[in-house]
C-alpha cells in the first residue's frame, strides 16, 4: 500500500484542528491560548487540500477541547474540523459550530463602546447564524451591530 507522507507529523494522543484557512492559523493558536501552553504543538500553513485548495492545520499533543472552547474559532474558520486522536487513531471528528454568544475574542466595531475604552470583556449575540453572508454580531453593551466583513479579532 502506498503510504501518504504527512507534512505535519502524527500525534499519539491529542487534538487535530484541520481545514483552517491558512491565514487564520496564528490567530487560532492565540485565541485558544495554545501559545501559552506547555503541550507540544505542530502546525502547517499553505498545505494542499483536496476540498479547499489551500489549508492550515494544527496538532496539539495531550490536549482535548470542549466544543464551546473550540467553537470560539468558528467565526474565523467555519469549515474547520476538530479530530480527537487516541493512540494514533481517530476517536472522534466534529465540525465546528458558530455559537449563539461570542465572548472576549472579537472587538466591537464602535470606537465609543465601553469595551474599547475600559477593561470590559466583549460579548456579542450572533444574528443570522444560518445565513453565512448576513451573519452579524450584536454588541451586548453598546447595541451596535458588526457585519461579518468587519469582524476584528482581538
Amino acid at each position: 500500500m502506498e503510504r501518504k507522507e504527512l507534512k505535519v507529523s502524527a500525534i499519539k494522543n491529542g487534538t487535530v484542528i484541520d481545514h483552517l484557512p491558512s491565514d487564520s492559523v496564528f490567530q487560532v493558536i492565540r485565541i485558544l491560548n495554545l501559545n501559552n501552553s506547555e503541550n507540544p504543538l505542530y502546525s502547517g500553513i499553505n498545505l494542499e487540500s483536496k476540498k479547499f485548495g489551500n489549508k492550515g492545520i494544527i496538532k496539539v499533543e495531550n490536549r482535548y477541547f470542549k466544543p464551546e472552547e473550540v467553537n470560539k474559532i468558528a467565526l474565523l474558520a467555519p469549515k474547520a474540523t476538530m479530530i480527537e486522536i487516541k493512540d494514533f487513531d481517530v476517536v472522534r471528528k466534529t465540525s465546528l459550530e458558530i455559537p449563539d454568544v461570542i465572548t472576549k475574542v472579537v472587538k466591537c466595531i464602535n470606537p465609543k463602546c465601553i469595551t474599547n475604552n475600559q477593561n470590559v470583556p466583549t460579548k456579542f449575540e450572533v444574528m443570522n447564524k444560518d445565513k453565512e453572508e448576513e451573519l452579524k454580531l450584536h454588541c451586548h453593551f453598546c447595541e451596535k451591530t458588526t457585519a461579518r466583513e468587519n469582524i476584528m479579532f482581538k
Binding site: C113, N117, Q118, H140, F141, E143
Partner: protein, 301 residues
Amino acid sequence: MNNKSLISINDYSKEEIIQLLDRAEDFEKNPSQPLLKDHVIASLFFEPSTRTRLSFESAISRLSGKIVGFTDASSSSVKKGESLKDTILTVSNYSDLIVMRHPLDGSARWASEVANVPIINAGDGANQHPTQCLLDLFSIRKTQGTLDNLDLAFVGDLKYGRTVHSLVIAMTMFNTTFHLVSPTELKLPSAVKRYIKEKNLKYYQYTDLEEVIPNVDACYMTRIQRERFADPMEFERVKNSYVLTREMVDTSKDNFKVLHPLPRVNEISEDVDSSPKAYYFQQALNGVYIREALLTTILGV
C-alpha cells in the same frame, strides 16, 4: 421586572411600560409623596446634562429621598483615572440606587452587571436614554388619550437622534404609522426601520415637512446639528427646511401636538410656543412624574 435596572427601553415589555405610565399619572395628581424618605439615591453624571439631572433631582426631592453624587466627571475620582467598575462598586456601598449618565456607549449595561444596586440609565453616549423615551410615551398618551393606532411624524435628524430611535422602537408596540421627515443625509437607520417592518407596520419617508403636518396626530421635532454634516454648505441648505412654523401648525388636526425632547435651537419657531398645540414644555415636566414612577417601582415602595 427580573433585573431591576433600566438600561434600554427594549428591556421592558408593553405591560411594564403601561404600568409605569399609569403610576406616573398618579404622581401627576399628587407629585409630593415621601416614599423615598429612607433612601439614598446616587446621581452620577460623568458628563453634564442639566435637564435630565434636574428632572431626576426634582423627582427624588418630591419623594423626600436624599441625593449623593457628582454633576460632572471633572470633580470626581474619574479624573484620577478610576475605572467605571470601581466607581460603581464604591458608590453601590453608599446608595440604594444609581442614576448614571456616561459618555460611552454600553457603559450603563456594564455598570448594571457590576453593581449590587439597581442602575437607571440616564443616557449612555449615543446609545440609549430610556427615561426620555418613557416621558415621550407618557406625553403622547396624555395628549392623545391613547398610544394605539396613531399617525406620528418624526422630524429632523433621524439618523443620529437616539431619542427618535428609542421612541420609534417603543411605538412599534402600539400599531403606529410612522411619517419620517428628514434630509436624505439624516434618514432613519435601516436597523431601526427593521423593527417597523418586523411588526408589519407602515412608514413613509419625506423630505418636505409642510405636506405631512395636516395628516398626523403628533409631531416629534429634533435638532439638526451642524457637526453631522461633512459639507457646511449642505447644513446651511437644510437647516431652515425643517423648521416648524405657526402657519404649518395652524393647518394641523385638532388633536395635533408638537413634541420636542429639548433643547430647541430654531427648529420650532417661537410663535408656535403660544399655540395650544405646543406641548414641549409640559413634556419636560412629565419627565419628573415618570422618573418618580420609575424610582418607586424599581425600589418597590
